[in-house]
Symmetry: D2
């Protein structure tokens, strides 16, 4: 059994880790921590867990976690993991960080977007970016995983085949992305009240979203060239799901459908739909899949890729468990084969 | 392996049976039928199943189903099962009917509510009402199960302990029930369009809903007396979930919390919440549980029971599988331990 | 022109007052106050007002409000108005309080439910309960209006004809009430996030809601007897609207439909639907109407009244303006004849 | 008084015309027709109109409509107006067609997208495209108005200033557009059931949507050049509102904010938001405004325009009334100054 703990378990990625890990046949949940909720049963916050996982939140104690766990998941806001990770690694406990702390290879860019110096820059080179579709072998060997963000997962999986083969102009990429409100996390805030975000649609952070540098970094790794991306996120009046509508300018002729199907044939969690399809976010609700469709209207040069994920699963907690499976020599899909819930 | 088929698989109870059976370790799905969709992959209608269940709809052929299956589920509108069931039983194939055809013991009442004579009245005495919480042993022996309706499940489980002990006035029961729109099924209809049912709340069928005689029948079995129930269903602007708010007049003093906890302690799918609780429908979304809370404001004589289920699971497809497990000697909870999805 | 100010204008009743008053032909909005937002344009908080009402929030200054206004609306949390009202009345400025401060005639009951002594108990006898359907003449003469709560409006209008004629047992009344999330106000809170309240349904405050004593007081005025009410509020996953499902036990035979139609024939904002109807909350969305339907299933003794209002209009801001019209000799319906928005 | 009739009044643009016209001080609604609902009160279909507009649907009789009306609105599916309009015009009744019949100047393109020959091609030259922001003077003189589609309104108003001044590359325009479900109309269809379209987001018709030729036609008029547009519509899980996210490549330096503000300063129903804004669809819910924001991230060459409208108002019925006001010498904003409903 893999002994696992979750630090910062009161958010939506935390409850989703719990839901998925509680059903994972090879995992024992050793602890779930929260400074504010220590001593309270998790089922008080998350009534779905009642009868399935009857444990209480505890105070986060790094030494104890290191002693008791094989792996620690961080489901914390940015800035928390980078303070605690060095102590855990020092005791040979592996870390899967769902926050942004180790996603950017360059600490100056991190500082620029997060407004303070990085606390553990010496670990950035070691941290493995946890997108199995590009880093599977490195993940198997990793001690520290930087789990990709929700938008970055949907956007990168959509663009990868085009960029890896240098088929499109890397200076003219557009990602028009839409997310359900759970992407904003479980925190009291006016903007995501049902009365504010319900029956409403809007763009936000058009001048610059923190996921932008992460996406560009990933696209540059794929294209091995400089990339210019216009990224516009929007808030959908629903709970779960990301839909990224991606635009690129084709520079070389190729059978796009075949390209995508071949690229992702070995991938258990990327599904290339038949030509002419329109993937729906609900087709992956509660599920670790990314579903893609490729369009080229009027046989012109503009390629449109439609990419959907569940922002809390493939965009966060499911992907984290996929990483864990790889790190611990488990079957990659174990504990992740839930069918999406429709309707 | 239990060889199972689903007749009429294009509705919401059909897709939910598929989702649950596809993950059931002891079931092989032999066929799913639909006259209108025969030949089409189920994943065309239900994109969540793509990659998990790649079979096609077929024409319903009773002889073939009987030959190939141990059990046939009917997820059809009323009036279909009663025509096909006799042939299946004659060949020793067991039947779990999710429709209303075999729920009412009295064929004259069936005729009165459904507007035509019952086609197989000779089977009504044999059909077992598939509510395991009252009929577990009979279910184990049954050839033909009449799976309870969604409202009847939530209402009966809420009232049972009070009526079984004759603690309340059986002539003054009220069930103010609310259901998500999936209760209306997957059919093109103006009333359940997003633009009609969304951001809206209303009662319907106050003068008489087809679930009323089924509920009264069940409550009378429990109380062993005549019962008068006022039943008002409402449509909630959401997809899944039933919330029944039940009112009864207490006639004998008793510790209600203890009564409910003892009654349901052995039940794997009924959860009595602590005093003061308010169960949420989302706490059972995608899950086979019924969660209950008991209130008695100001220590008066009015007892309020709050009862929530997922209308498609414990109110339909999950309960059907719970019945199947019992009929085939499986562990009752097998394939039904999914944790509800929150958020 | 009636010179009007709003104290505490950052909530949903505040913006709704602004929307309705901005289109009222006889009103000049002199000020809208907010301690936290003073200096900020109202259209920053409420983008619907941009181009229609380009004023800024100001600090609340009672002396200045008294000098400049004919009437001051309080759209504040409870406990604010009772401190400021005496100074306004002293300068002959009339007050319409949308909060709970002056709704309960008995200050000890107020203290019991709000946890502190009332600050202006000497004004309780003067305050007029602003339900025009029972208090029209008193409202015309009033200096101080206590505007009814949202649940109390829907429940009282539904029960009034039955109680005024002593037709039902006053000790056995049930109000199963459901409200959209805007009833919880515009404040950052976990419970009304889209991800918590969306796609979910639950009861709350079953052990006692602050609107209960107000409703009982009103029902007792109507029945001129003691009243016992079981009141269960629920949260609907939508923004606006209240649906009260009311149950009473008939003790005298009467033509209920005719009773209601006659009682409300002169009322511009109460609409009795034809027999067999099910009023929808959206039929009054953005509108000051209360729509009612009366049912008596199987001709039994249980009467069911269905009552819908927009909790922010007839349940708050629209009713406040209806009161203002009466107080200032305007036509009662002026500025309130918006047709509900469907779909 | 302008005597007006509506042909085909059972859809969402029909009820919205009724709602707006019923409050218009200079309009008398003479008739509303529907073959299927003739004889039924409109308030049976649209309960919001009860008490405000108590008329019945009638059979469409062109001769009678021509005799009794100054103007006839067509709120019909495509293909109906083109058959009836010639007779109306022949009797000097003016026509405002909300359907697609007269929007495309070239009948061969109409035939290509709608699959049959145009029935009144001789009227295409006379028909005036009813977008007041480009055609105000022609509208004043018109007998026949082709009211723009919902997507075309939002997209054209967003792009116009850029194209009129040839500031961007006309061969590289992208419109990523999102619409609430009311855009699909009021018809029983699986795809827009609450259980299918709720809690879900998807693109549709990526290979070609019928609004595409209309948008391109309008953009070409503005730019006086050939235009290439990539248009991707999406379905939002909400009722009302369109959000168009527009992308263009800047070729000439200009102060974009000033450009837009000057272009639209005289327009009563186009609102250019301050720099850095993100317009919300709810800010125009129930309102005839189009709100725009212009972004240029990192001062690069990609211009992003965010454009929101209510698809049923500025995208349909409100714009139709704006046209009527112009045609009949009324103040352009009359009957259209409703403030959007928030929350």
């Amino acid at each position: 059994m893999i002994r696992a703990a979750i630090v910062g378990g009161t958010g939506y990625t935390g409850v989703e880790l719990l839901r998925l890990l509680a059903n994972h046949p090879n995992v024992e949940i050793v602890a779930i921590t929260s400074r504010t909720e220590a001593g309270r049963p998790v089922s008080k916050l998350f009534p779905n867990l009642r009868g399935y996982l009857d444990i209480c939140f505890t105070e986060p104690e790094p030494a104890q976690l290191a002693a008791e766990c094989d792996v620690v998941f961080f489901a914390t806001p940015h800035g928390v993991a980078m303070d605690m990770v060095p102590a855990l690694l020092a005791q040979n406990t592996r870390v899967i960080d769902l926050s942004a702390d180790f996603r950017l290879a360059d600490p100056t860019i991190w500082e620029q977007w997060y407004g303070r110096p990085h606390a553990a820059p010496h670990l950035l080179a070691e941290a493995v970016y946890g997108l199995p579709e590009i880093n599977r072998e490195a993940i198997r060997q990793a001690r520290l995983i930087a789990c990709p963000g929700c938008y970055p997962t949907a956007v990168q999986l959509g663009f990868l085949p085009l960029l890896e083969h240098q088929l499109v102009d890397p200076s003219r990429l557009i990602a028009d992305a839409k997310s359900g409100a759970s992407g904003a996390g479980r925190k009291a805030a006016l903007g995501t009240l049902l009365c504010e975000a319900g029956e409403n649609f809007k763009a936000y952070s058009v001048s610059g979203h923190r996921h932008l540098p992460e996406i560009i970094q990933g696209l540059q790794w794929a294209s091995r060239s400089s990339v210019d991306l216009t990224f516009v996120p929007h808030l959908i009046p629903m709970i779960r799901g990301i839909h990224a509508t991606l635009y690129a300018q084709l520079e070389h002729e190729v059978d796009l459908q075949e390209l995508y199907e071949q690229r992702y044939a070995p991938e258990p969690f990327v599904d290339v739909l038949p030509p002419g399809s329109h993937p729906e976010t609900r087709s992956v609700r509660g599920n670790n899949m990314c579903r893609l469709a490729i369009h080229r209207p009027s046989a012109g040069n503009t390629v449109i890729v439609l990419s959907v994920t569940d922002n809390l699963i493939k965009g966060a907690s499911g992907q984290a468990i996929q990483n864990m499976n790889l790190m611990f020599g488990q079957e990659e899909t174990r504990g992740l084969m839930h069918i999406a819930v429709i309707p």
